[in-house]
């Protein structure tokens, strides 16, 4: 399943990545209104990207990212054309999602 769409591009020694994570990203307040149970809230808590087994980008996140959040970031010093950028998120309920894309 494409839990994350990853599009990396190499230009002038810098890899620019556009990533779209598929996730509802519900907040505590939203679930309070919807189901009456704040604990139903679920959102990505941690997301990372790696190339050849090395972490190049990572972030701890909160409920306040948009639904299906888009992340753009850049890194340098690693990654050639054809290498894969692998991304993984973990949400509040412990579920994980991954996606990868080849550097173009």
């Amino acid at each position: 399943m494409g839990a994350i769409k990853v599009k990396p591009k190499l230009k002038n020694g810098i890899v620019k990545v556009k990533a779209l994570a598929s996730h509802e990203m519900t907040t505590f307040d939203m679930m309070q209104k919807k189901t009456g149970n704040r604990d139903d809230a679920n959102y990505i808590e941690h997301i990372s990207a790696s190339v050849n087994g090395e972490v190049v980008w990572e972030a701890s996140t909160s409920q306040f990212l948009s639904k299906n959040p888009i992340f753009k970031f850049q890194f340098k010093g690693i990654g050639a054309k054809g290498d894969k950028v692998v991304m993984t998120w973990t949400d509040r309920k412990g579920k994980t999602g991954t996606g990868k894309g080849k550097i173009k």
Binding site: I14, M25, T26, T27, F28, D29, M30, K33, K34, E45, H46, S48, G53, E54, V55, V56, W57, E58, A59, S60, T61, S62, Q63, F64, L65, S66, K67, P69, I70, F71, K72, F73, Q74, F75, K76, G77, I78
Partner: protein
Amino acid sequence: MQRRKFLSLVGLGAVAATVAPAALSATDWRKEKPDAWQAKTVDSAIKAMYGDKPVVEGDITVTTPDVAASGGAVPVNVKSGIDAKSVAIFQDANPESAVIVFDINKYSIINYDVKMKLKSVGDPITVTCIVEGKDGKLYSGKRTLDVALGGCEG
């Protein structure tokens, strides 16, 4: 040093070294600073995240639209040339302040785009970016915007 003690220390070091690469390389901000994610104001969130340190203005650019048509997905970009350990984004509209914390590693370039939800509160909203420098100082950059329609009402 006693030989036995020395050997046990070496042993521990070896175990730590073999475990480390499998785990995440940097701080897990959610586990280590749980209070920071509950904090209701930007100042208290920064304190919970980084400790009680002075915050100085720094070379940080925060870009948002002047007016966000919908608070459901407000694009925010942060850029900085500071030699940093981490970068965090806070705002003062939602029930809690912390939005995201990036860990910096040797490959990082501080130029991040994220889309965040912002509640419409009627007043202008300030997005604050804190860069934790390797020199131990905290730098901040701010941007104020209006949100026409909130994103947390769901």
